[in-house]
Subunit: 455 residues, 2 copies
């Protein structure tokens, strides 16, 4: 909590125009931008829980207006038609609005509307991961400049209280690593592949038929959605500005039923993980999204269906996990409402909450410097000396082998290897070397292994 | 955030004596009460992370003094001997102290010291679950009266950020139920019994030899520790004052290897749960600590060894779980440090954080009104008509049966029943009725079943 610069002046000025929120029962007025799946649930909760919210805040909340694209559309919850407007700019500019809730998503017009609101001394609550990950500097910068609140709990992992714990509860600790299942669609698909043996295509179709995946599933299955969340998490965990462009990203479209079965046979399960990790020397961070094998005994392994969970390793706290629903109207609205209560309390007190913290300003290291373990499957010729030749390539690139298993015979001979910790660059060089060997018919899969002790 | 009443006056007065914290680099000064397992880790973190803490707070933290019982004792971390004192009262009274960190535990002298500090305008960070659960009214009341911060994240579930999410992130939602594994000792014992088939006594001995259980394990195994935490959780979740005396409490000393095996056979695992639940009509809450069977597919079932986890069901957020280390020096110190950062930021801003919220003021209903499911094992005579006679007793008390299983024959005949939802009073009456039957040789176990859909 920092005092708003010039807060006293601002308050006096505000009192000139109208009473200060919270005084003489003057309500805090909320402008809602967007009334889709999340927005309509925000309206519902503001109505249904009005008394509880007023008691918790110390003043009632009032919906000042709801900006929508089309007025006539049918909506999930009852919104007073008199509150609807297609002029979001005018709504944001109204001088009786205290808090702007942005659930439109995307870069524009969300960014311009948020900047206008901040410039005008309003507080922002947003669920906009894309904007924060792509151009967080602009909106956080404006919040700092104007001394305004910018809260965004709903932008990562929906209902799960995660950002507040990271930036407040762990403020006295040092985060080493964050491993997150932050995309429900891909977790649903991978869980189905794991439990039923389905192919990626079949599992995706099922997810689409159940509404867990969009008709165009690219943003989910290619890891774009998770990458935006990874950037936001890394920024909070390491007090460093990280953008979506800094995040190494691989999707799950190439995961086969064979990969899933092979992982299972070795006691692993495949998950799409968002990983934010400090380097061993603490001087840089790596931020990446890719499918990875984790041991079935790891707490993240039990995260089923479309649930999300984020596993945090901190120096003193040790291992923590936060689990819950990562998407959906009501869960996301719950996170939005929690932020509305927080900024409302701040506004009554004339202060703002913690702002973006980037003091550590660590470098984001390239993927090649990432250190982890790898699971490699090779189609090999079934003759003596194969293992020796293969092992030599690993040794040449300083990648040491932890487990080797030979499966099948003759044309079906498969070599499955799990390495010790090595850099991504060393592993890539090893794979190139293996591809050049005559006795290696094919490198059938390469997957990172995460969540093991000191991996 | 509420402005501290008379904050401006207080600040001016304080500036008269010394500079306001955070201004001109004046550090925030911390008095530490207690330097045992947790306290010595707090000292270590204050030293090791001084630069990070200063950057996150906006002013350095300085240890003003450490109150201990004996000066000569060997400690886990290096504390400057010049800071040690046996006069806790004088340390708390020093007018250069901003924040008092209380990790002595127990009711007195902790309470008197905290009251003196609050009266004096200081902020408190405490890990004292016993005091908050037994006499929270007095300390919370003093915090409110004097406009001082009282933060207590470390009092429940150690390192797990739990209280802040409950009172802030979920401030816009309605909590239905909290199911928590909040005692690591008993979870370790029950986990060993489940995985190895050990008896309670053997598992307890192992826990003691590993330092997970005290020589006198009463507070843990009889559920007193969990009951204090349940009272604190219920208060936060339901905006109602709940004390340890309101909590129905049963320990785990009577759980047998047979109970554990029987649960396993039915797809359950036995956990000691702290349960805080709103009644169906929303007008009262039940708060209880007892062993219960939960399905092996429930997220809490996978909580192994001495880990803690708290499962929260909220109307909009849905199911959430928070997992991590519930005890230990460094994990608990991490939670203490998070609170120190929060109160330090508040102090610089001249505000205080959210205070105790008891506006809902719900009644705590007696255990008899609790509604849940039950698992009942009976030693019965192996003759025709037994099931009909037993079923009649259940029906008479309006307890409907969901599953019946007959095991063994002749002298070993066992009847295992799982009920639908019923009140605790109805189940107790049913059990009394069963005991009166000639054909029932013994009621070998009665255990509540939690964590199933709508149970």
């Amino acid at each position: 909590m920092k005092p708003v610069e010039g807060a006293e002046d601002a308050r006096r000025e505000q009192r000139g125009r109208h009473e200060r929120p919270g005084e003489s029962g003057r309500p805090l007025r909320v402008a809602l931008l967007g009334c889709g799946v999340v927005g309509s649930q925000v309206v519902r909760l503001l109505n249904e829980q009005a008394d509880d919210l007023a008691a918790r805040i110390g003043a009632p909340l009032e919906l000042a207006g709801v900006a929508v694209r089309r007025l006539g559309r049918k909506r999930d919850s009852e919104v007073d038609p008199a509150l609807l407007t297609t002029d979001a700019e005018a709504l944001v500019a109204r001088d009786d609005v205290d808090i702007v809730v942005e659930v439109i998503g995307g870069i524009e017009p969300a960014r311009s509307l948020m900047l206008a609101a901040l410039e005008d001394g309003k507080a922002i609550v947003t669920a906009n991961k894309a904007l924060l990950a792509e151009d967080g500097a602009t909106v956080h910068g404006a919040a700092k400049r104007h001394g305004g609140d910018l809260y965004f709990e709903a932008s990562v992992a929906g209902a799960i209280p995660l950002l507040r714990p990271l930036r407040e509860s762990l403020a006295g600790d040092r985060v080493r690593r964050v491993l997150g299942i932050v995309n429900g669609t891909t977790n649903y698909i991978l869980d189905k592949m794991d439990t039923t043996g389905a192919s990626f295509t079949d599992a995706l179709e099922e997810a689409q038929s159940l509404g867990y995946a969009e008709a165009d599933p690219t943003a989910d299955v290619e890891g774009f959605d998770a990458a935006a969340k990874a950037a936001i998490l890394a920024g909070l965990a390491f007090h460093t500005r990280v953008t979506a462009a800094d995040v190494h990203r691989e999707g799950i479209t190439e995961i086969t039923a064979t990969d899933v079965a092979s992982a299972k046979a070795m006691g692993y399960v495949i998950k799409l993980l968002a990983i934010c990790a400090r380097s061993d020397d603490g001087r840089s961070v790596g931020v990446r999204v890719h499918p990875a094998m984790i041991p079935r005994t790891h707490p993240l392994a039990g995260v089923r269906e479309a649930y999300n969970a984020v596993f945090v390793e901190a120096e003193s706290a040790g291992q923590l996990m936060f689990y819950g629903k990562g998407a959906g109207g009501a869960p996301t609205a719950s996170a939005v409402l929690g932020d509305i209560v927080a900024v409302a309390r701040n506004r009554i007190a004339g202060v703002h909450g913690p702002q973006e913290s980037t003091y550590a300003d660590l470098a984001v290291h390239p993927m090649g410097e990432t250190v982890t373990r790898y699971h490699v499957s090779l189609d090999v010729a079934d003759k003596p000396g194969v293992l020796a030749t293969v092992a030599e390539i690993f040794a040449k690139h300083d990648v040491s082998i932890r487990i080797v298993r030979q499966e099948g015979h003759g044309d079906d001979a498969q070599l499955v290897l799990v390495t010790h910790r090595a850099t991504d660059a060393a592993l890539s060089a090893t794979i190139s070397g293996l591809r050049e060997l005559d006795i290696v018919r094919d490198v059938t899969s390469v997957m990172r292994v995460e969540g093991e002790e000191s991996s």
